[in-house]
């Protein structure tokens, strides 16, 4: 079970969080023309990297904030967690 540092609450057990998928996906702006390919890519296509991955987690049983986690998908090592408005270095 992972031990995740919520940027707002500190270290908490994985049980308190929900996984939110790829954290690098940016939703296309509203009211913009967008091609089928691009939209399809946004809705469905996700990378499944072997190694470092920036992902979203949601502290559902805590402060209810979404935040970013940089994690190794193989070793589960967590390198960094940041608030949504901060960059993973």
């Amino acid at each position: 079970m992972l031990y995740i540092k919520c940027p707002f609450c500190g270290y908490r057990s994985q049980k308190e969080f929900a996984y939110g998928g790829d954290g690098t996906i940016k939703r296309p702006e509203l009211n913009q023309e967008i091609s089928d390919e691009k939209w399809n890519e946004f809705v469905y296509l996700r990378k499944s990297p072997n190694g470092k991955h920036i992902e979203l987690w949601h502290h559902v049983a805590g402060c209810r904030q979404w935040f970013k986690v940089q994690r190794d998908t193989v070793t589960h090592e967590i390198f960094q967690t940041t608030k949504m408005n901060e960059e993973i270095k």
Partner: protein
């Protein structure tokens, strides 16, 4: 012959407390502090089970967790538990133990015929034999295999015991209380670290309890007691015995089982049987010690063959002799220690040492005591069927590949020592890649991947002083790293007899023309020849050999067989062990009861039960409840002998004719506040929200980005920047997360806050033509006329002193209102409504009647919004705005979503107007068509239309728009059911929607 193998003045038992128990129906006695194994051995009982495959007689082999054979069925307080390790199970008054895997009895087992047919049971037997025909699998083979190759019998009774879970955090977790564990825990605790020290066995001390050593001039036991006493008094230390860390997971989380109640005869009521600990430690010290490995020889599974350290432990801890004519078979000095213990009690052992004659402190000591030693000797085979009665021994040739002579020697037990294997399971589980250490012929931990450190015997340090040095140093270093304190203590000095080098001899060769079975893995009956067969058949990877032969796959995880198996593969393959590699160590280290894993999450505690504030009223009024997520909702209120259908019809009819009241507290409620709230609603709902005025509600539909309907509900504008959103009961949590996602990640610039208020408000829906009259009586000072409070209107009122929110919304299609009050007043509100509603014939209605009402009105709900439908499919396309963008809008342009024959919501009535249409039925053109019969759609919701007095269903059908008026069949091939139905509009009642606006 009561306890005739018990010796006086030895052991750590309470001799004042006799304990009686039964084994295979016969009554025996032991002492408090015995294990089931030591008590049976004290009574001279060796034969306790039959082997897995050949049903050979088996006895005790070890004295603890390493035991491969002695798995018994235990009956205690009416609770029957299979596969209990007799060497670990503490004796409790009144238990009944029975042997497993034998019929009719352990002494005479018909299955033993397998032993004589063993050449028909080679490695991979199951794979080779039970291949065909397929139908034989479940009729013949499986029942057969289950019968002969079983362990114990799982109880069919419900487990009434209590199990608990516990979370703990610490600086340093120390697993094992031998010299390494004690010293590191002590050093770390003295340096201010928060320490947890755990010991698997009931007694602390590990090897200090059995080895002839001194520390600080104290015996091993006395030093242990001193340290444990001190540790227990320190506030920063948790000390637990009967506790085993069995799993090492990510981010230094370990899982431990504490056996809190198994050893208690009269367990206090709230003491759990077992407790599962989740321990998150900054650092973990693995002081798990080592396990003696056997030397393989002929018939080495005969009862009476023991690990030599086990024999020593039975003497030193339990005061039990495993035999009175012991033969010690060793390749190292450890066997001598066992021999000396026997000698102390007047027993004359004979030592066979595979090494050439040499001297060491221990060998000299044995010689001085006139113990007979035969160097360069090995056991060829044990004689005796149900118990060792003699051994065939021989002198080894120079390169130890054959015997130069052979003789028979009388003995009643053989104590074997093939040197020591570090217990590296937890280190390996933590991700530590092991390395092979030539000096000890075993794998030891290498580089740590997590914050773990192996010390002492578990990393191959086999001398006491080195172990203590390591323990004190590591305990101090790790604690310093965490606490930054600098209080070190000096290592105490110790005394132990020096040992000479061990010999790599691990398996006795077979004499010519002899075909003794030589077992590598006792628990799974894997012999030398089985592994040879696997290799001959081309299995190379050790992981494949393991699975083909089942070597090391039993519940003992190959603790005594692993290295010998690897050695054998290496020999045959002409490799060395590190080239062969080792198989994966996986949790749990020992079998764990399912109850422990489940903990308190059983019955009502399986998940939280959510009850509305009106729950007690529902209970008093014969409500039959249904689960809606974690909520309990009244499904119907039973009157007399009514069944569900009758009651629901009555309740729904009463709504259509008079007025009904329904508990709608469970609906999800989300408070939305902020200057950008309207804009936010515009973006998450398909319809427009800019023009919703204060005091008005609007129905909204929410999509996922892929265009699928996620949820629906009404949202009301309470004030300028304050909205009250409702969601379906089921989706409440998901919708909140969804909104938070968009607010926090996608549009953080929006000034909006969302908060769940589901549990803050109790809700009651009043529905029916009389609902306004009732409302007027409830709020006499409020104008509730159609003009003042129109459909989709909102107002606030005073309900006998209580602040109430009144929404004119309707799910039933009738004139209806929803009243919300603060949760604490929910029951008060409900009772007031019931009291005043009496004159209007008010009746409560449950979820079933609620469904009847919404279905015949054509209102969609969960069964239609099933994660596969877009707005068009459920006839909500009118709510999709083309003036603005919103979540999921772009997906609606997808080609498949715009096909002309796209599926659509329709209504169905059976043509006979009688037969109920089961939900989930498939819709087909021709009920007799050849399979596969093309499916046109499915029935999503069914009800009894109280308005039209016949069955009615909602269905989602391909090209539904053009199907109206057609006749189809609703079929359930599984139930062999078919009914002809006519496709009609989904609005079966009040198509113009007059009633809600009346």
């Amino acid at each position: 012959m009561s306890q005739s193998y018990r010796i006086n003045n030895e052991g750590l038992l309470n001799r004042n407390k006799e304990i009686s128990f039964k084994f295979n129906g016969t009554k025996y006695t032991g002492y408090e502090g015995d294990t089931l194994a030591s008590a049976l051995l004290a009574n001279g009982i060796h034969l306790v089970g039959r082997s897995f495959k050949y049903h050979r007689p088996r006895g005790f082999f070890g004295a603890g967790v390493e035991e491969p054979n002695a798995k018994l069925q235990i009956l205690l307080n009416g609770h029957s538990e299979p596969n209990v390790n007799a060497t670990e199970f503490e004796l409790v008054e009144g238990i009944e133990a029975t042997s497993q895997n034998c019929w009719p009895s352990v002494k005479f087992d018909l299955g033993a015929i397998n032993n004589y047919l063993s050449k028909f049971f080679p490695a991979g037997f199951y794979y080779k034999t039970f291949k065909w025909p397929k139908s034989f699998w479940y009729k013949v083979y499986e029942p057969f295999i289950r019968k002969i190759a079983g362990f114990g019998i799982a109880s069919l009774e419900k487990d009434k015991e209590r199990y608990e879970h516990k979370y703990e955090y610490c600086d340093l977790l120390v697993t094992g209380s031998g010299p390494a564990g004690l010293s590191s825990a002590y050093a770390a605790a003295k340096n201010g670290a928060k320490v947890i020290l755990v010991e698997d066995k009931p007694r602390f001390g590990g090897s200090l309890l059995t080895d002839d050593v001194t520390i600080d001039n104290l015996s091993g036991k006395a030093w242990t007691d001193k340290i444990i006493t001190q540790l227990k008094e320190m506030p920063n230390v948790i000390v637990r015995n009967r506790s085993q860390v069995f799993g090492y997971y990510d981010h230094n989380m370990t899982v431990m089982i504490e056996r809190t109640g198994d050893h208690l005869k009269d367990k206090p009521k709230y003491v759990p049987r077992q407790r599962l600990w989740y321990i998150r430690a900054k650092e973990v010290i693995l002081s798990t010690g080592s396990i003696e490995r056997p030397i393989v020889f002929g018939n080495n599974d005969t009862p009476g063959v023991f690990l030599s350290a086990a024999a020593k432990e039975y003497i030193k801890v339990y005061g039990v002799l495993v035999g009175k004519k012991p033969l010690i078979f060793t390749n190292n000095d450890s066997g001598y220690e066992t021999a000396l213990e026997f000698k102390k009690h007047g027993i004359d052992p004979i030592i066979l040492d595979t090494r050439e004659e040499h001297t060491s402190e221990l060998i000299d000591s044995a010689k001085n005591q006139n113990i007979k030693i035969k160097f360069s000797y090995a056991v060829i085979a044990a004689n005796g069927y149900k118990k060792v009665n003699s051994a065939q021994i021989g002198r080894l040739n120079k390169d130890k590949t054959s015997f130069v002579n052979s003789e028979t020697i009388e003995c009643d037990c053989i104590c074997v020592s093939g040197f020591w294997t570090p217990t590296v399971h937890l280190a390996s589980q933590s991700g530590n890649k092991l390395k092979f250490d030539d000096k000890i012929d075993a794998f030891v931990p290498d580089k740590s991947k997590q914050n773990e450190t192996s010390i002492g015997a578990s990393k191959g340090t086999f001398t006491l002083q080195d172990t203590l040095d390591e323990g004190f140093k590591k305990g101090f270093d790790l604690s310093k790293k965490i606490t930054s304190n600098n209080n070190s203590i000096s290592t105490p000095s110790s005394n132990e007899i020096k040992k000479s080098l061990h010999d790599k001899f691990w398996c006795s060769p077979l004499p010519k023309n002899k075909n003794f079975k030589r077992f590598v893995d006792f628990q799974n009956d894997v012999s030398v020849s089985d592994i040879e067969v696997a290799l001959r058949e081309g299995y190379r990877s050790i992981e494949h050999v393991k699975r083909y032969t089942t070597l090391g796959m039993a519940t003992d995880q190959g603790r005594t067989s692993n290295l010998n198996g690897l050695q054998l593969v290496a020999n045959v393959e002409k490799k060395i062990v590190p080239q062969v590699g080792h198989t994966t160590f996986r949790p749990p280290f020992t079998p764990i009861t399912i109850g422990t894993i489940v903990g308190r999450e059983v019955d009502m505690e399986y998940m939280p039960t959510r009850k509305t504030p009106m729950h007690s009223w529902h209970e008093k009024n014969n409500a039959v409840f249904v689960d809606a997520g974690a909520w309990k909702r009244p499904r119907y209120y039973k009157q007399g002998n009514e069944n569900l259908f009758e009651a629901s019809k009555r309740e729904a009819k009463n709504v259509r004719e008079h007025v009904g009241i329904c508990d709608v507290t469970t609906l999800g409620k989300i408070d939305i506040k902020g200057p950008d709230a309207a804009e936010f609603l515009n973006r998450v709902y398909t319809n427009g929200w800019s023009k919703l005025s204060i005091g008005k509600a609007r129905y909204g539909v929410m999509l996922r980005e892929d265009g699928i309907v996620m949820d629906d509900g009404t949202t009301t504008r309470i004030s300028e920047n304050h909205y009250h959103m409702t969601t379906t009961t089921a989706q409440a949590a998901n919708v909140l997360s969804h909104l938070e996602y968009y607010l926090q990640i996608v549009w953080p610039e929006l000034k909006v806050n969302v908060l769940s208020t589901t549990e803050q408000w109790a809700g009651a829906a009043l529905a029916g033509p009389k609902s306004r009259d009732l409302l007027a009586k409830l709020f006499p000072n409020l104008d509730v006329s159609n003009e003042a409070l129109p459909f989709m209107g909102y107002t606030e009122g005073n309900l006998f002193g209580i602040k109430a929110k009144i929404f004119r919304i309707s799910f039933s299609g009738e004139l209806a209102y929803e009243i919300n009050v603060e949760s604490n007043y929910g029951l008060f509100m409900w009772e007031k409504i019931m009291e005043i509603g009496k004159e209007f014939n008010i009746q409560p209605y449950g979820t079933e009647a609620l469904s009847f009402l919404r279905i015949e009105m054509g209102h969609v709900a969960g069964p239609e919004l099933d994660g596969r439908t877009i707005p068009y499919d459920v006839s909500l396309e009118g709510l999709v705005s083309n003036k603005k963008d919103f979540v999921g809008k772009r997906s609606l342009q997808k080609e498949a979503f715009n096909k002309l024959d796209r599926q659509k919501l329709v209504g169905l009535v059976p043509t006979d107007k009688k037969t109920n249409i089961p939900e989930g039925s498939h819709l087909v053109m021709d009920k007799n068509a050849k399979l596969p019969n093309p499916k046109l759609g499915h029935v999503s919701s069914s009800c009894w239309s109280v308005e039209n007095n016949n069955p009615f269903s909602l269905a989602i059908v391909k090209d539904g728009k053009n199907m109206i008026g057609k006749k189809l069949f609703a079929v359930s091939p599984l139930k062999d059911f078919a009914v002809e139905v006519e496709v009609i509009s989904s609005h079966y009642v009040d198509q113009e929607g007059k009633r809600v606006r009346s």
